[in-house]
């Protein structure tokens, strides 16, 4: 499955895949942002791959040198019972990434959550609002520079 997958994706472009990692039998592909939509389309539509189910999208801060953020896509193929993780690295200066919600509708809520928690903006998303925090909240709480105890006064409380 792994070879088949890499062959198909390398056919898109030689430089689309930045790295391939395997840890505890889980396959992770780091792909370039420019090729994300193209790769997503192939993963879903190819008759042998059939990654028809996007199980989750989440953001994370990276602890390794380089870009600050990454977006992680958790894909599953019901047909092949195979799980794949796609990753895209994003610099702090430009936290924009195209949405995949046109390819997998399931991306809608998790992408809103990622925006809420990390401030990563998904371009062309149909409904780019916060999902948990109130709309007037200014911060992105899962960023490492947001304190665990919160910021006093960031959420207006009712007066006594």
């Amino acid at each position: 499955m792994k070879e088949k997958l890499l062959n198909k994706l390398n056919a898109v472009s030689k430089e689309a895949i930045e790295s391939v990692e395997e840890f505890r039998n889980e396959l992770t592909l780091v792909v370039k942002k420019e090729y994300l939509l193209q790769i997503a389309q192939i993963l879903r539509d190819d008759s042998e791959l059939q990654f028809d189910s996007l199980r989750d999208v989440c953001g994370a801060e990276r602890f390794l040198p380089g870009d600050r953020f990454e977006v992680i896509y958790n894909l599953y193929s019901i047909q092949n019972t195979f799980r794949l993780r796609l990753k895209v690295h994003l610099p702090e200066s430009d936290p924009h990434i195209p949405t995949v919600s046109s390819i997998w509708h399931a991306a809608n809520f998790p992408e809103r959550e990622t925006y809420d928690m990390y401030g990563i903006i998904f371009d062309n998303h149909p409904d780019m609002r916060r999902i948990y925090m109130p709309e007037e909240f200014e911060y992105h709480p899962l960023r490492k520079d947001f304190p665990l105890m919160g910021i006093p006064g960031s959420i207006p409380l009712p007066r006594k």
């Binding site: 505890r24 028809d52 989750d56």
Partner: protein, 418 residues
């Protein structure tokens, strides 16, 4: 008099216009316009603090927008600031109807990350925990959903049976609700003979109670009318929107992680995955009721096959030592001190492990930087992803169907809001 005359004239005008089939008549009446209805967050049928904004045309739903976050406690942020053991009690509060299954899901992810394999007895014990949790959760579901569509009797029957499961949890774990029963590399304690006897007694009684519940619903004209053809989603849409669990099996997708990506000892147990084709509320009802009978089957097998032996992995640098040894032995005391203060330090890497929980795929994604705290912990909660499908299920339906559809979705907001 003049008013009546005018009204009569207007009516005649309308009737004349209607005689011509090419005419459309528009009534500009304030009651005919679309109306916005705010449902929840404090509403008995929204199962917690789910808020729905409904756009209505008369009684028909034109659009629905779920609004989440009323129970957001920031567990992912909390997890980054505590060691792997400390997070176990917090998993109880995710899907609070099946805390044991959450405990199991979380430690399986941590063990995969740290490379720990637990002994077979502990694996069987975890299967028993997960299936008891599924039964408890489905018993609450059958009661609340029946009540949502008007059958209060089944609520009481469902809760009566669930009460017995909670008594079993009391014997098994020492608490009735927030169990925190699993540990990284084992279980908090072994199952006692008394608990085994209680489970067996319960399993003998449950099928009759299930029959009772099912008979009162499945042959009930009102219940069937309220469920059949309601909240329909197609197979393609269900997969695209990310439904998992019983909701996916109700549209004819044969997918169950217990069989397709076996974890624990599910590959050694014989069970059947119920699949129904209709994709409506009634099909979800049948999937869950059949699933409960399969859970009973799994529990009997697990109790029979459970081998004797230890329930703890021997790996002193990763697994907490037994308390009685900590108080009496130097090495164990040191290990306990190190594990509590500095954590289990799994290698640098990332894992995702998912189990088939009662609501669907419950997964934990953990990134480790190599120290005692998870660098990033993401909870893939089934309720959160299932709620996404609500607008699709509700559109075009009636307002009275909303409660039936939410009931069939069975969301738990503790899990959806994290």
């Amino acid at each position: 008099m003049a008013f009546e005359h005018n009204q009569q004239e207007a009516r005649n005008k309308i009737l004349k216009a209607l005689e011509n089939q090419h005419t459309t008549v528009m009534f500009d009446d304030s009651l005919e316009n679309e109306m916005i209805l705010n449902m929840g967050p404090q509403h008995p049928a929204t199962h917690g603090v789910l808020r729905l904004l409904l756009r209505l045309d008369g009684e028909t739903i034109v659009a629905a927008v779920p609004d989440l976050g009323y129970l957001h406690r920031g567990y992912e942020k909390l997890a980054e600031n505590m060691n792997y053991h400390e997070f176990i009690p917090h998993t109880d509060r995710l899907d609070y109807l099946s805390p044991l299954a959450n405990n199991v899901a979380y430690v399986l992810a941590v063990e995969k990350l740290a490379g720990i394999e637990v002994p077979e007895r502990a694996q069987y014990l975890r299967v028993i925990c997960a299936e008891l949790a599924r039964l408890a959760s489905h018993l609450v579901w059958i009661g609340t959903m029946a009540m949502d569509v008007g059958a209060v009797t089944v609520l009481l029957w469902g809760f009566r049976e669930r009460e017995k499961i909670q008594d079993i949890w009391d014997l098994l774990t020492g608490v009735r609700f927030t169990t925190s029963f699993t540990r990284v590399g084992g279980m908090a304690q072994d199952i006692s003979g008394e608990a085994i006897a209680a489970i067996k007694k319960f399993l003998e009684e449950l099928p009759a109670a299930l029959d009772e519940c099912e008979n009162v619903l499945a042959r009930n004209r009102i219940f069937i009318d309220r469920c059949e053809g309601i909240g329909y989603v197609s197979k393609e849409d269900s997969i695209a929107i990310g439904l998992t669990g019983p909701l996916l099996r109700a549209v004819g997708v044969d997918h169950d992680l217990r069989r397709d990506a076996p974890y624990l000892v599910y590959d050694k147990l014989d069970f059947h995955v119920p699949v129904y084709q209709d994709g409506d509320v009634l099909a979800r009802f049948y999937v869950r009721t059949t699933e409960m009978r399969e859970s009973i089957k799994i529990l009997w097998q697990a109790l029979d096959k459970m081998p004797a032996g230890s329930i703890h992995t021997h790996s002193p640098k990763q697994v907490l030592p037994r308390k009685e040894k900590v108080y009496g032995k130097m090495e164990e005391l040191i290990h306990d001190f190190m594990l509590i203060n500095f954590g289990i330090n799994p290698p640098v890497g990332e894992v995702y492990h998912a189990i088939e929980a009662s609501k669907g795929e419950l997964g934990f994604y953990i990134q480790s930087k190599g120290d005692g705290y998870p660098w990033r912990l993401k909870i893939r909660s089934p309720s959160f992803c299932n709620i996404q499908a609500l607008p699709m299920m509700l559109r075009g339906g009636l307002i009275s169907d909303v409660v039936a559809v939410i009931g069939s979705l069975d969301p738990v907001m503790g899990e959806a809001d994290k």
